[in-house]
Amino acid sequence: MTRRIQKPILIACSVMAALFVGASGQPTVRVEPTDSVGPRTLEKQTETAVVRDYLQAWHSLSAALEQNRTDLVNTDFVGTAKEKLSDTIQEQTKLGIQTRYVDKAHDVQLVFYSPEGLSIQLVDTVDYDVQLIDHEKPQITQHVRARYVAVLTPTEVQWKVRVFQAEPE
């Protein structure tokens, strides 16, 4: 009897697990070859760290704009990018709006690594969904494809996004 019950439970758990993975699925990420990035030589470790921290910044942005929490952008953003995002969050709070950004795909190209190693610039063609929620009422979910330019600078333990700006494709 016990064995007969276990199998359906196992299947149900697997389905739930698959749904969970699908729902919280990571975006697909493509990084263009970095052979021509300069003027400073870009080591593989640096490239990996920059891309990892940039994607983490998207994660923070998404959570911060959804929960209207300015503290969530502190970890991965700095300078102008942080100020602008914080202003948007404060404005959203004032208006009773939340926005949910779900990044689906990134096509990242590292384009500039400064000679002294203090800044790195990337261009990212991002596919993402934006859901607009006004006073807890979802208004629309829209798919967006945009080209973002980001400048990251190193801090003690990670790269932080200092400039984050979409431009016309």
Binding site: P39, L61, E91, L95, I97, Y101, L132, D134, A146
Partner: protein, 290 residues
């Protein structure tokens, strides 16, 4: 079962209809707007609605009377980026998108000049990186000429003009042959930013000492220590005197004072005395040859 399928198909058709309505909606949107510029959005229909402009850089919400043109004042949209526009009202939701671009005129430069101190005569030793920003702190992605000038205490200034790409321009310049403070300037349009670069003497070019007996001691003194361009090596630079004699060795580290290092060491017959600073070896003297 069949009625369920029909209902499901109906739902899909309805959703597709809504999507088509949304995409063909008659929102009169500009394609791009320059940051800080006034613009307007034309709406159609009747009744009341709400217009949202949504992006990570900015968000706006306006109540609208459908059918009217909504005007945005200068400065309303000032952060460059891609914005989703949503108009709700009546039975449908319309949406579109537009881009806000940076003002093409540079207002602020983020100028990183490195290093702040370096030896003279170093090829490509100084780097300058400029990020070009507009008055709203948007990165100016439009190609912009940026000129770099390094003017030192002597000689003609070095000048380079570089067109920015993705908002950034950079260059590398040589340090001058004479020590002193150099002014490193970056200019884009009417905006300039300056940094001071200290150019210090390089490694000593040659090192020579003389020896003079003084009782049981030897007085050792270098000639003025200079780099290969003739600049005096800074006071405090350590000069090491080493004496090797039968069964022993003595070493004395002496800081340069007014270009010269001097010390005294015991006079051992047959000793070999050498002098060095950094990676530069000086002359060698054999005292009281047997």
């Amino acid at each position: 079962m069949r009625s369920g399928l029909t209902f499901f198909a109906g739902l899909i058709l309805l959703a597709a209809g809504q999507l088509a309505l949304a995409q063909n909606g008659s929102l009169g949107l500009p394609k791009t707007v320059e940051a800080g510029a006034a613009f307007s959005i034309h709406t159609t229909g009747s009744g009341k609605g709400v217009l949202y402009i949504v992006g990570p850089g900015q968000i706006l919400r306006r109540d609208v009377q459908l059918g009217e043109t909504l005007s945005f004042a200068p400065g309303d949209m000032h952060n460059a980026g891609h914005y989703l526009v949503v108009l709700t009202g009546g039975s449908s939701t319309e949406n579109g998108a537009f881009d806000v671009t940076a003002v093409h005129q540079a207002t602020t430069l983020s100028f990183i000049a490195k290093p702040s101190r370096l030896p003279v005569d170093l090829h490509d030793g100084i780097s300058g990186v400029v990020y070009v920003f507009d008055t709203f702190h948007n990165l100016v992605l439009q190609p912009t000429p940026v000129s770099f000038q390094l003017s030192g205490v002597a000689g003609a200034p070095q000048t380079r003009t570089v067109t920015s790409k993705n908002g950034v321009a950079w260059t590398k310049l040589d340090s001058a042959s004479k020590e002193g403070a150099a002014q490193f300037e970056a200019r884009a349009g009417n905006v300039t930013d300056k940094r001071i670069i200290q150019q210090v003497p390089g490694d000593p070019c040659k090192l020579k000492m003389d020896v003079r007996p003084d009782g049981q001691q030897l007085q050792l003194e270098t000639e003025p220590v200079r780099d290969c361009s003739g600049n005096a090596v800074p006071d405090g630079t350590i000069v090491t005197f080493t004496e090797i004699y039968d069964g022993g060795q003595s070493t004395v580290d002496v800081p340069l004072k007014r270009d010269i290092a001097k010390t005294e060491m015991p006079a051992h017959k047959g000793a070999t005395i050498s002098v060095a600073t950094g990676v530069v070896m000086g002359n060698e003297i054999r005292w009281g040859k047997e």
